[in-house]
């Protein structure tokens, strides 16, 4: 059975399926009940499954995570919504110092099958703390799995797999793509979490990204065709662990790597991927891997986010750099 769904609705469909399949699954978060979440992801779920399983919580992110941990001790499978990326920080202690460490601390006795849903990223013209990309903090934290979806089908499949996982999973949802529509096969067996996917095949440059910038990268690959450049686009999907085999196979073919994400550059996912791929494919690299990222500044006001966010032109400028073509660093020759 296949349906045309927005990414937001596709996640909602995945949640509905998980709630129906396993009665230990419960949803927690601010405004997820009657309102259906500020992005309407949980629309209708409280009416369908009741307030005991779809719980509006008080406004306290640390408490939401902390009590989810307690519920997991009792064998529940909490799915927590953090309303906006910038609101996750009050819960940072519970996630990093508790959630990520519990299995290790207890010698494997305690499982923490908690899924933390986080709308993330910018591009929606919003106010401060509503456009952040905090994924690297969590990808850096041992004991946490981190994933990000980019399209409705993956969103539907990946949220179900995340809930099914016995490990804690940070599930980053690209909020500026919530309203993008796509065909979703509701009966498709979900793929296991952790694999990257080649979404555009190409020969000259490997372009790696995830979440909201996958659509931008696909656009960039289409625009590059006019330059006679063939770009291969990889949607990482899993940020911790990263499916380096897929990236490596591509880079062995193309010899060139560009990574793009909205998060700031220093210490980001791009740095990890560049380092690991340089390690794995050193002899295949024709040029130093390039990162196209947000700048090392706080996410700026809406009227400046166009400057901050990697876009098609900035990505293709990096593609030109790895190809040794004219680019912003070589300058433009008058001819």
């Amino acid at each position: 059975m296949s349906e045309q769904l927005t990414l937001s609705r596709a996640i909602g469909a995945g949640l509905r399926r998980a709630l129906a399949d396993d009665d230990r699954v419960l949803l927690m978060g601010e405004d997820i009940g009657d309102l259906g979440g500020v992005f309407r992801v949980t629309d209708g779920l409280k009416a369908e499954f009741g307030a005991e399983r779809v719980m509006d919580t008080p406004l306290a992110e640390s408490a939401i995570l902390g009590t989810a941990i307690g519920l997991a001790y009792r064998g529940f499978r909490p799915v927590v919504e953090i309303q906006f990326d910038g609101f996750i920080f009050p819960a940072f202690d519970q996630i990093v110092a508790q959630l990520g460490k519990l299995r290790y601390r207890t010698g494997g006795a305690v499982s923490m099958p908690i899924t933390i849903r986080v709308p993330f990223g910018g591009g929606i013209g919003s106010v401060e703390h509503h456009s952040e990309s905090p994924e690297a903090y969590f990808a850096h934290t041992p004991g946490l799995r981190v994933v990000s979806c980019s399209n409705p089908q993956d969103a539907y499949s990946m949220i179900r797999e995340a809930i099914r996982s016995d490990d804690p999973v940070l599930f980053f949802e690209p909020k500026r793509r919530y309203w993008a529509k796509g065909e979703v096969d509701l009966e498709a067996e979900p793929e296991p979490l952790g694999s990257a996917k080649v979404v555009v095949t190409g020969a000259d440059v490997t372009l790696v990204t995830y979440g909201p910038l996958v659509a931008t990268a696909i656009d960039a690959a289409a625009a590059a065709v006019e330059d006679g450049v063939s770009v291969e686009v990889i949607d990482l999907r899993s940020l911790a662990p990263v499916d380096f085999e897929t990236v490596e196979a591509s880079v062995r073919k193309t010899g060139r790597l560009v990574i793009t994400h909205e998060a700031a550059q220093s210490g980001g996912l791009g740095a990890e991927i560049a380092a690991s791929i340089t390690d794995r494919c050193f002899y295949h690299l024709e040029a130093a891997p390039q990162r196209v990222t947000g700048f090392d500044v706080p996410y700026p006001p809406a009227k400046l986010e166009e400057q901050y966010l990697p876009d098609l032109d900035r990505i293709l400028d990096a593609v030109d750099r790895v190809l040794g073509r004219e680019n912003s660093l070589t300058g433009w020759s008058a001819k």
Binding site: D31, L35, G36, L59, P90, V127, E128, P301, R314, D317
Partner: protein
């Protein structure tokens, strides 16, 4: 250990029965019908509020409501990214903010646009944040008001720290933290009250209980009146009618006086109602009961002051026209300031991250400048 019996009678413990009764009643000076009540404990704090001062308060309430309505329209017209209406909460904000001195310092949430107006923030500066041209519409030190806080409750700790500083400096300035009922669930707010009590800080916790945290009713955050929570932290509290500008002003003056005279923190719960959506992106029809909306519409803060002034013969046609004219002027200026606002220059995205040069950021800035001139050099 859990037993069935224990579960069945959880409150048999004698101590538990000694809870104080919930404090439901509100301090009220103006009733919703515009009748003025005798409140000896409070009246003396507002004895200076004469006819002119009352008209000034009416004008304030009217003007900030007009700003709010205009801003909502501007968002619908694509001129603002977002706007958090304060509709219904005018008296809580005007009554408290008009009680402050210039050297006091307020730390607010994002809905306190009427407070900002009273602090002297310029009209255009009110919307810079919502139009997205800046993260702070003003310099906090120019107006004695920090940049409104978006992270729920975080500003209460800042206010407490500021107040601790006032005390160390030996000045009698007061810090005021504005926050909502939802924020009282946050750890930060509870931690702020602990610090304020421990250090006897001259800070006022001004909680506007507007009944809603987006879609969540106040009952989810607090099963008893919020004002009852403060004494547990060692902080005296008042519960006032937040739609009564005089009651709010009196309560705030009491708290200010206590803070200035070394009495430490006070908690004020101003009970009001959010008559609009949480923000222009919200849809209250999904969760709000129409009956309570109607009930609160009848308690409107402007309506009751208008009725009172009419009854006192203060609100002449002339005064009414002057108030309307002022609101019209402000709305016109506000719209023009908003629409005429220049976008920030692209390279300013790198400004003010650090006080000192930063090699990594400087390199990114340099490369981005090269990129801009390269890309904008010509187009195909």
């Amino acid at each position: 250990m859990r037993t069935e019996a224990a579960l069945d009678s959880p409150r048999e413990n004698a101590d538990m029965n000694e809870w104080p009764e919930p404090r439901e009643e509100l301090v009220q000076i103006l009733t919703p019908d515009g009748e003025r009540l005798e409140q000896p404990l409070y009246d003396r704090w507002i004895s200076d509020i004469d006819a002119d001062a009352l008209v000034a308060l009416l004008e304030d309430l009217t003007v900030v409501r007009r700003i709010d309505v205009e801003a909502t329209a501007l968002q619908r017209q694509g001129e603002l990214g977002l706007w958090p209406p304060l509709l219904g909460q005018e008296a809580s904000q005007i009554g408290s903010a008009r009680a402050l001195r210039e050297d006091d310092f307020v730390f607010t949430s994002y809905r306190e646009n009427a407070v900002a107006y009273c602090r002297g923030v310029q009209l255009g500066d009110l919307v810079k944040v919502w139009r997205g041209t800046a993260f702070s519409g003003w310099n906090p030190f120019d107006v004695g008001m920090a940049t409104p806080q978006v992270i729920i409750g975080a500003q209460t700790l800042h206010a407490t720290g500021y107040a601790m500083g006032c005390k160390k400096d030996g000045v009698d300035s007061v810090a005021v933290a504005y926050f909502g009922d939802g924020a009282t669930s946050q750890g930060d707010v509870n931690e702020a009250m602990i610090f304020a009590a421990s250090f006897n800080a001259p800070v006022i916790f001004f909680c506007q209980n507007n009944h809603w945290a987006i879609s969540e009713p106040v009952g989810l955050q607090a099963v008893r009146p919020i004002a009852d929570r403060a004494p547990g932290f060692g902080i005296p509290s008042m519960r006032v009618d937040g739609n009564d500008v005089l009651a709010v002003m009196a309560a705030t003056r009491i708290a200010l006086d206590r803070a200035r005279s070394g009495g430490g923190p006070t908690f004020i719960e101003a009970v009001t109602y959010r008559m609009g959506p949480h923000t222009t992106s919200d849809d209250p029809s999904k969760y709000e009961d129409r009956a309570s909306h109607e009930e609160w519409a009848a308690k409107d803060p402007i309506l009751r002051l208008t009725q009172y002034l009419e009854g006192e013969g203060i609100l002449t046609d002339e005064v009414r026209a002057a108030v309307k004219s002022k609101a019209d002027d402000v709305a016109r200026e506000f719209r023009a300031e908003c629409i005429g606002m220049a976008n920030p220059e692209p390279m300013t995205v790198f400004d003010n991250v650090f006080a000192e040069p930063h090699s990594a950021l400087d390199r990114q800035k340099q490369q981005f400048a090269a990129y801009l001139s390269y890309v904008e050099g010509s187009t195909r």
